[in-house]
């Protein structure tokens, strides 16, 4: 009889411990899976020039893909963006050298789009202009830019 009476508190402890464990597991998995928060791309109110350059970088990825497929780049799909006219993240870059770099980039970019035969080579020349300027002013995206080159 005593044995049976002892069963009551044991059962109580067992049931509650077991239950708390399984509940903890549920909570842990909730913490990992139920959050529906979407990843943030940039929480710092980026300046227009930074946004424009990100757009241009996406365009470059698209151009590279097209060229690798052997397609011709159409000027109407990739209009030149006058990024040097909008506000940069760091206004101290707005000096003669920056505008000269921008001019050289624009020249290479337009030449690439106008070319009928060697767009691949001219695309690489254009990406080279991005590298030159970023080596002087903003190293951050260099790794990404260098991935844009097409291996010849």
């Amino acid at each position: 009889m005593k044995t049976y009476l002892l069963l009551i508190p044991i059962a109580f402890v067992f049931a509650c411990t077991n239950n708390s464990k399984s509940n903890k597991q549920k909570v842990d998995s909730t913490a990992q899976n139920t959050s529906c928060a979407k990843p943030i791309k940039d929480p710092n109110n980026p300046k227009p020039m930074a946004l424009m350059m990100r757009f241009m970088a996406d365009n470059a990825d698209s151009m590279k893909a097209q060229l690798l497929r052997g397609e011709h780049l159409d000027e109407s799909n990739y209009p030149f963006m006058k990024f040097y006219l909008v506000e940069p993240t760091d206004t101290s870059v707005l000096k003669m050298q920056f505008f000269e770099n921008a001019r050289l980039f624009q020249q290479a970019y337009l030449e690439m789009l106008k070319s009928s035969s060697n767009q691949k080579q001219l695309y690489n020349v254009t990406i080279g202009k991005c590298v030159n300027c970023h080596e002087m002013y903003c190293n951050g995206p260099l790794k990404r830019i260098k991935k844009m080159f097409i291996e010849m």
């Binding site: 009551i8 549920k26 990992q32 959050s35 710092n44």
Partner: protein, 166 residues
């Protein structure tokens, strides 16, 4: 009487299984809700589970050139221009510079002091003087401090594909 004791035992097990979750879950859910509200995701959406402390990285990477790993640590500093890199600090005061894969996402410029979970690739690289100077400039260091950087540095760096800031 025996049957009664047996019955009480069984009903105790059953009732605990059904009732206890409500109370426990309420408390735990409050903590979970608060963590979820306070944490932000950047880049690929990752989970915080099984992240190793930044201090373990040296042992983990050992002789390997690269290591794909998930780490956690306190944010010590962030790029004050764009939020395009951050430093995590370990207990020994050593910093690990974290950049973000393909420059495709950024972290809040004011997240220093918070806890970060990072997933990506750790490697040992030589950082050039120009790069070190630019990192120092972005971190808001003085002209003298920037000019004092004259040697390249071989260091552990991390390229994150996903970040959680909590």
């Amino acid at each position: 009487m025996k049957k009664l004791a047996l019955l009480i035992s069984i009903s105790t097990i059953l009732s605990c299984s059904q009732q206890a979750p409500k109370q426990d879950a309420n408390n735990s859910n409050t903590a979970v809700d608060s963590a979820i509200i306070n944490q932000q995701y950047f880049g690929d959406k990752i989970t915080a589970d099984s992240a190793k402390p930044v201090s373990e990285l040296k042992n983990l990477i050992a002789e390997n050139k690269q290591l794909t790993v998930k780490l956690t640590g306190k944010v010590e500093g962030v790029c004050q221009k764009k939020g395009c890199w951050m430093n995590l600090k370990n207990e020994n005061g050593e910093k690990l510079r974290v950049t973000f894969k393909d420059y495709k996402f950024f972290v809040p410029k004011d997240c220093a002091g918070k806890t970060a979970f990072i997933q990506g690739v750790a490697s040992t690289e030589e950082t050039s003087v120009e790069e070190l100077q630019e990192f120092a400039k972005d971190a808001g260091k003085s002209k003298e401090e920037i000019a004092a950087i004259k040697e390249p540095k071989k260091e552990l760096v991390f390229e994150a594909s996903g970040v959680i800031i909590r």
